[in-house]
């Protein structure tokens, strides 16, 4: 049995073709073979969500998928969000404005999940946000600022002129 196989895929719009060990996880392939280290490894058993990426537009845990399973797919990672001129994606902007991150290690996974959520539901309720983000673990923020980040991103996408809660007057 061959231990390596050729994989062709697109990541953040760029086409790659690589020979990869069949047992290599997708997250290790992204980080080690493609140098896309923005996707982080938190638990390696599919619980924490730090390694979340978009695979053909849907979130996937890249730590419990093999690289060869991504053959022929279109991936998006955190590196694909911001534009090359240094402008953050509106979701990233919202997380910054709402203090939706502290150590930042889980953040790429949250951003990708938020991206999928807002594509599916542009105007999510609090309960919908909680449902969608319940598979991502953050140990720093206690989630409140993350929830508000998602709400801010959604409101701005709807064209509303919203003041981030973090810039409102404190109690």
């Amino acid at each position: 049995m061959a231990t390596t196989r050729s994989v062709q895929l697109r990541v953040n719009g760029i086409a790659y073709e690589r020979s990869v060990e069949v047992r290599k996880t997708l997250v290790d392939f992204l980080r080690e073979d493609l140098g896309l280290v923005g996707t982080h490894v938190g638990c390696e058993h599919g619980v924490c969500g730090a390694c979340t990426i978009l695979l053909n537009g849907e979130t996937a845990r890249s730590c419990i998928m093999l690289a060869i399973q991504a053959d022929g797919t279109e991936l998006m990672t955190v590196e694909g969000l911001a534009s090359a001129d240094g402008k953050l994606h509106p979701i990233q902007e919202a997380y910054r404005d709402e203090h939706g991150l502290q150590c930042g290690f889980c953040t790429p996974g949250f951003l990708m999940t938020t991206y999928e959520l807002l594509q599916a539901i542009p105007n999510p309720t609090v309960e919908e946000i909680k449902d969608w983000l319940s598979g991502n673990i953050c140990r720093c923020t206690g989630y409140k600022d993350i929830l508000e980040s998602v709400q801010l991103a959604a409101a701005r996408a709807r064209g509303e002129d919203v003041v981030p809660t973090s810039q409102r007057e404190h109690a």
């Binding site: 290790d28 280290v37 991502n136 206690g142 929830l147 973090s166």
Partner: protein, 805 residues
């Protein structure tokens, strides 16, 4: 100490601070949001090898034989490190009290299931893990020691050569305990059990080591912090000179105490030594983190008594606490059994207390630091005892608290243990909490729900966060090693020839926004913008004396260090300004970014131009003044003292008071707890960046919920850990954590720069008490209570059903 002249932000040399005290966006965020931060595991160096660790399957066993020949023969494997190498090249890892640890790798005995037994280095991690499976180890299994009370009573002993499993014990008595308990109207007695939990940062530990055999230079990179603390441990274990060890800090994907630790760094350094100059990286996987590292904390059995008068005046507190410490008393971990002494009576004025504490070794993962360093369980117990007392005396639990609060006119307040609380106003915090939460309405709601048979409960609790504790407490563990009161923090502040500022700090990025704070303070001091300030984290060869982010020190230590450094730099720049303005340096003052002549404010020069002038025209500077436009300042906590023989000492710097309210409902059929209201009032003095403080509190609340309801490391009677994945060890998700309301009380610290107090651990101190007291309030109509944390659904269901575990 430099007199910074800035007790409060309003004392800064600027008309109106523009950044200190504001929600300044964090400098850390753009890189974190775009995945561009170089976390330890992102580092790839030329020729770098990858390590994997073989771990013991037994809790206690003798290693009879290790045969690594098949592993060594596997293509791609560079070397295998075993106990023989480790014995030859190192000493047992550091710990206080001294002599209660083992080597970084098991040599003869294995002490817990998960202890490292061998390390493989190979060209990639997959091959290294294949090789781990090829190592043959013959074990002679021994009966594991799992029950701490039995371990205290006698043998067998966890460590060879010892005749006890009690690594540390101490009995502190402050005040007249006998009289307090002899004359009390009422004594509340209860036992409490707090199970093992831990910090679980989302980034696991990473260590990259390079030991150059020609220069004998060891370079360590990775996810550690506080190189000031790790360096002595490496010197101790490896016998290396300090200037031949370079510890480089990467940004941290969280730590919560777990990464202030050296055993795995010693281990990977030894692997590097065996590799003769090839760099090796080890990235801990999550299961290793859960079963193998020194990442567990607080596995406690408490017996407590509270003495109280009929009018609710608390007169004494007695506690015996046994902490199941795991296999080693390593690092500074045993300090966690001492920390409750520092703020034993919380926000209350309790004239005497009696504290017996034990750190007992068993065949489990050794304990290591975790956010709170041992206090969260303590406040839960204190608050629970007060609730029980109020119930038994038929008093309002809130009024009992109010009655016993340290009055605001008694600060600075000295506890019977000698520790001093710098400032506070707990009664006003309580008033604010009751008002903002609509407590009267909530109470009515609870009463109605309870009379309708629902298990709804409400609590109001308090805690103290003793900011920046440290060496004075550790003196008890080793008077030989800890002879100091210092917890220094040094910075270097430089203004370059273009008027931009560079600051070197010992703090890595770790989520606490430390680089953002530095930029805010510098910007207001020199009337610049945060973007004019670049902050750099230094390594162990370039660092000033320091301590790093421990014990909620970030705001306290950085404010002190930065203000001292800025004052010193300003004094230097005045020398140049005096030349430019043709006056004596004593006649120059800094204000709004101008070096101006006192009494003639229209005559001045921008400070940014002065720096350029000094560097470009040293020929014009007077004798004794050079072109250096940088200053170093090493801050130290003021007013601390070493403990006396009774244990009385000034252990901490600040005391941040917290008042929290929690409302819960328990599902009678499942034992599930729902938190539907959570309100916090915290007083950390000046808030350098309110959003950051609010984030710390909300995040600490999540940790508190984990400890109170979800997280627990479970061991079987055979010493095997049963919670080795996140399917068994449950971390709070967004569905478990309430979106708390948070309100500020501000009593600025009179002893820190800018009036700040430590706040990073406040909410994990308070939340378990708030949640579990509310749970027990909900159980009150059933006449039962839960005295075990976490209050998992099963435990609660059994309590409700009256079924013993």
């Amino acid at each position: 100490m430099v007199d910074t002249g800035a007790k409060l932000p309003s004392d800064l040399p600027i008309t109106q601070p523009r950044y200190v005290g504001q929600d300044v966006p964090r400098v850390e965020d753009p890189m974190l949001l775009t995945g561009r931060v170089e976390y330890g595991d992102n580092i790839r160096l030329p020729g770098m090898l990858h390590a994997a660790i073989l771990r013991s399957p037994h809790a206690r066993a003798r290693i009879v034989r290790i045969d690594a020949s098949k592993a060594e023969a596997l293509p791609g494997v560079a070397a295998v490190l075993t106990g023989e190498d480790v014995k030859q090249w190192s000493h047992p890892v550091f710990g206080v009290p001294e002599g209660w640890t083992g080597y970084a790798l098991a040599t003869d005995l294995v002490h817990w299931a998960g202890e490292p037994v061998a390390v493989v280095a190979a060209t990639d991690r997959y091959i290294a893990e294949d090789a781990v499976d090829l190592i043959e180890v013959e074990y002679e299994p021994l009966e594991p020691i799992v029950d701490p009370e039995r371990a205290m009573a006698g043998g067998p002993f966890v460590l060879e050569g010892k005749d006890t499993n009690i690594a540390y014990q101490r009995h502190f008595e402050f005040g007249d305990i006998a009289t307090a308990f002899g004359e009390a109207d009422h004594i509340v007695k209860e036992r409490f059990r707090w199970h093992r939990t831990s910090g679980n940062p989302m980034e696991t530990c990473v260590c990259i080591a390079d030991w150059d055999p020609f220069s004998n230079m060891l370079t360590i990179r990775g996810s550690h912090r506080s190189p000031h603390l790790i360096l002595p441990a490496l010197i101790n274990a490896l016998g290396m000179p300090s200037n031949q060890i370079r510890i480089v800090q990467s940004p941290l994907g969280g730590s919560f105490g777990v990464k202030t630790f050296a055993r795995y760094i010693v281990l990977i350094s030894l692997m590097a030594k065996k590799l003769g100059g090839r760099t090796v990286k080890w990235t801990e996987d999550r299961i290793e983190h859960l079963i193998g590292n020194s990442s567990h904390a607080w596995d406690r059995y408490h017996e407590c008594e509270l003495a109280i008068k009929n009018d609710g005046t608390i007169t004494g507190l007695r506690m015996r606490m046994v902490d199941d410490f795991g296999a080693f008393a390593e690092w500074l971990g045993v300090g966690m059994v001492l920390k409750p002494m520092i703020s034993f009576s919380g926000c209350y004025k309790i004239p005497c207390f009696d504290y017996q504490c034990y750190a007992v070794l068993t065949n489990k993962v050794p304990q290591g630091p975790y956010r709170g360093f041992g206090l969260p369980s303590h406040y839960w117990i204190l608050e629970q005892l007060i609730d029980i007392a109020a119930r038994e005396l038929n008093l309002d639990p809130i009024e009992v608290r109010r009655k016993n609060f340290i009055p605001k006119d008694e600060f600075p307040y000295t506890l019977p243990s000698g520790n001093i609380y710098d400032s506070g106003d707990y009664a006003s915090s309580l008033d604010l909490l009751l008002e903002k939460s609509g407590h009267a309405e909530l109470k009515k709601e609870v009463e109605e729900a309870q009379s309708a048979g629902r298990l709804v409960g409400l609590s109001v609790v308090s805690s103290i966060e003793p900011g920046l504790t440290g060496p004075p407490m550790l003196v008890h563990l080793s008077p030989r090693i800890f002879t100091r009161t210092a917890s220094p923090e040094g910075v270097l502040v430089r203004m370059d020839a273009f008027g931009k500022v560079i600051v070197e700090v010992g703090f890595p990025w770790g989520g606490q926004s430390q680089h953002t704070f530095v930029r805010q303070i510098v910007a207001d001091y020199f009337n610049l913008t945060p973007d004019d300030v670049q902050v750099i984290t230094v390594d162990s060869l370039t660092m000033q004396p320091g301590t790093g982010p421990i014990s909620s020190s970030v705001a306290i230590a950085l404010s002190g260090a930065m203000m001292g450094g800025l004052v010193r730099l300003a004094e230097k720049l005045k020398q140049g300004a005096a030349v430019m303005l043709e006056v004596h340096p004593d006649d120059i003052e800094l204000f709004d970014g101008m070096m101006r002549v006192k009494g003639a404010p229209e005559k001045g020069a921008p400070v940014t131009r002065v720096a350029g002038f000094m560097q470009m025209r040293p020929d014009l500077l007077p004798e004794g003044v050079d072109a250096s436009t940088e200053a170093v300042y090493v801050w130290n906590p003021p007013d601390r003292s070493l403990p006396d023989e009774q244990g009385r000492g000034v252990y901490a710097v600040t005391a941040a008071g917290a008042l929290h309210l929690c409302m819960v409902e328990i599902d009678r059929d499942t034992g599930q707890v729902e938190i539907f209201k959570y309100v916090m009032v915290d007083d950390c003095g000046t808030r350098l960046n309110p959003s950051v403080v609010a984030g710390m509190l909300q995040g600490g609340l999540a940790h508190g919920i984990g400890n109170a309801l979800l997280e627990e490391y479970v061991y079987g009677d055979d010493g095997q850990i049963l919670t080795s994945t996140y399917m068994d060890y449950l971390l709070p998700t967004i569905k478990d954590v309430p979106m708390a309301e948070e309100y500020e009380m501000v009593t600025p610290s009179p002893i820190t720069a800018l009036g700040v107090k430590g706040i990073g651990e406040a909410a994990i101190h308070t939340a378990p008490a708030a949640i579990l007291c509310a749970v027990n309030n909900a159980l009150e109509p059933l006449g039962v209570r839960i005295t075990e944390a976490p209050a998992t659904p099963l435990r609660l269901w059994r309590t409700i059903q009256g079924v013993a575990e």
